[in-house]
Amino acid sequence: MAKRGTALLQGTLDLLILKALATGELHGLGVSRRIEQITRGTFVVRPGSLFPALHRLEEAGWLASTWQPSENNRRAKYYALTRAGRKRLSDETSEWNRIALAMARALEAS
């Protein structure tokens, strides 16, 4: 996972991928670009991290994939959230918010 600035925390990548796919299906490169876009370039996910994560999430049943023609007339593998994936996204989002809030409070404590 190449970083332009910030290293990804453990577990963050999964959540970012789920979030990137929340608005619709994307192929691998699309996921990576979407993550770059929604984090405003803070995280750039390279294929070496992206593809293992996509396959892991698919094996876990949170993503489903289909082959479809892509924008330049090639075939690409598109990933979409499954129902379990949507649930996972909402669970992980609340968990993340809880942790972020706790960390913010801890760091502000005097």
């Binding site: 593809f51 396959h55 090639r74």
Partner: protein, 180 residues
């Protein structure tokens, strides 16, 4: 992680390995090609584009290997590869293979023999004893103090030569120091 999915994936990965691998190859290559196409469309020479993309994204084979590492059954896959590698090495060097096999055989045989003997002598009840937990050890004592040295005798000795002692102990079998 939902277990059913993992089991299903494991099955799929082990049974349809070739298809899964082709699929992965096509997926990663297609992604690279997509970026290369973009660079070419932006005015880069094809060769330069391919080189730049490899630098940016890593090599296709490396990415594929990284995906294989996280798959369900990756461990079984590694073990199989190791076994095949080991078999090839042994084939290539038969003298070593024979020596190693013989050493193992001799080691296992020696251990088995020794354990069989020790098991029969030390851990099992002696033959003919129906209630081994009621065996008693008799030794001689003087004025309430145990005799300073402890001499024991073999069970067959007591069984054959000391009918007197066995009777005295109410029909119990006895392992005993000889009582004079």
């Amino acid at each position: 992680m939902p277990l059913m999915h993992r089991v299903f994936s494991l099955w799929r990965n082990l049974v349809h390995r070739d298809r899964i691998d082709r699929d992965l190859d096509e997926e990663v290559r297609a992604t690279f090609a997509l970026v290369v196409d973009e660079k070419i469309a932006a005015g880069m020479q094809p060769d330069d584009a391919r080189r730049v993309v490899t630098l940016e994204m890593g090599r296709v084979e490396v990415v594929k290997e990284q995906v294989r590492d996280i798959r369900a059954g990756a461990f079984a896959d590694t073990v199989l590869k190791d076994l095949r590698y080991g078999a090839r090495l042994l084939q290539r060097n038969p003298v070593f293979a024979v020596t190693a096999t013989l050493s193992l055989a001799i080691g296992i045989a020696a251990n088995t023999t020794i354990f069989t003997i020790a098991n029969a002598l030390l851990f099992r009840a002696p033959a003919g004893v129906s209630q081994p937990d009621r065996l008693v050890d008799i030794s001689r004592a003087e004025e309430g103090k145990a005799f300073p040295y402890n001499f024991t005798t073999s069970y067959p000795y007591v069984a054959s030569d000391e009918p007197e002692a066995r009777r005295r102990w109410n029909g119990r079998s006895a392992e005993a120091g000889r009582v004079d």
